[in-house]
Subunit: 150 residues, 2 copies
């Protein structure tokens, strides 16, 4: 249904939480704070750390802290850290895996769609999500090149 994984949602919550308490916090601590099972949170934080979105400190008194301010973290980055690359169809990543390549008249044509989504997502930061007031400035100009639906 074109929906992203729940893990990504957790990631956003964790990051926002980490921003609120701007100091080192342990994964059990974060888990308790956001009401998500600890092992799951740990997995999410690992992924985020791997992409530099959070900085990890090992050993006793270790934990995680934010890699950079919320307003410098794009939603797209979080999604890619957790869910992997943003590509709507398997045609894109798998490339020549599509057996009906010859018949398929739109082979590779999803690219513009992917780009549009990537672009849209990279223009929204976690700070925007935190601040309920929607970045109306970010809402696309709405040129409506066709009879808008949605």
């Amino acid at each position: 249904m074109l929906k992203l994984s729940r893990l990504t949602d957790y990631a956003v919550v964790a990051l926002v939480r980490l921003s609120a308490a701007d100091c080192v916090e342990t994964s059990p601590g974060i888990a308790a704070a956001i009401g998500v099972p600890e092992p799951t949170v740990a997995k999410v934080l690992k992924a985020l750390a791997g992409h530099g979105l959070v900085i990890s400190s090992r050993g006793a008194r270790g934990g995680y802290r934010l890699g950079r301010p919320l307003n410098e973290i794009a939603v797209s980055e979080v999604i890619m850290a957790i869910d992997g690359p943003i590509a709507l169809t398997s045609c894109v990543d798998g490339a020549s895996g599509c057996e009906s390549q010859s018949l398929c008249p739109v082979a590779g044509r999803w690219d513009p769609v992917n780009d549009a989504i990537r672009s849209a997502l990279s223009r929204i930061s976690l700070a925007d999500m935190e601040a309920a007031s929607i970045p109306t400035a970010f809402r696309l100009p709405v040129v409506a090149p066709m009879n808008e639906v949605v």
Copy 2:
């Protein structure tokens, strides 16, 4: 991974195909043309017909034809017809289903993200996808409000 279903891909292919031969075509015919098993194509076409993207004629000599020209069909419409509403998180549709509602600092904050995606997708028509030449005009201005990644 933020990817849409293969069925949606089939739908696009079928619609483009249906546009090429602009006359009534049967589902077995389309299936053969695009190299996809017939029952699956039938299912897709049913969904499309339900949303008015294709017009169906029953009985002998019946079949499907395009509901309106390709350039008036937004990708978002096809996705919604096949995959259901575009909502990134279950928080959005399920609404109050989120148990950690009180703890969740970003409850409902995915809305702007959803809107951005919906908007981006509704601005790309099937005609755009057909015409390989990407509607660069549609590519968002790329203002890069933050350190772009993606």
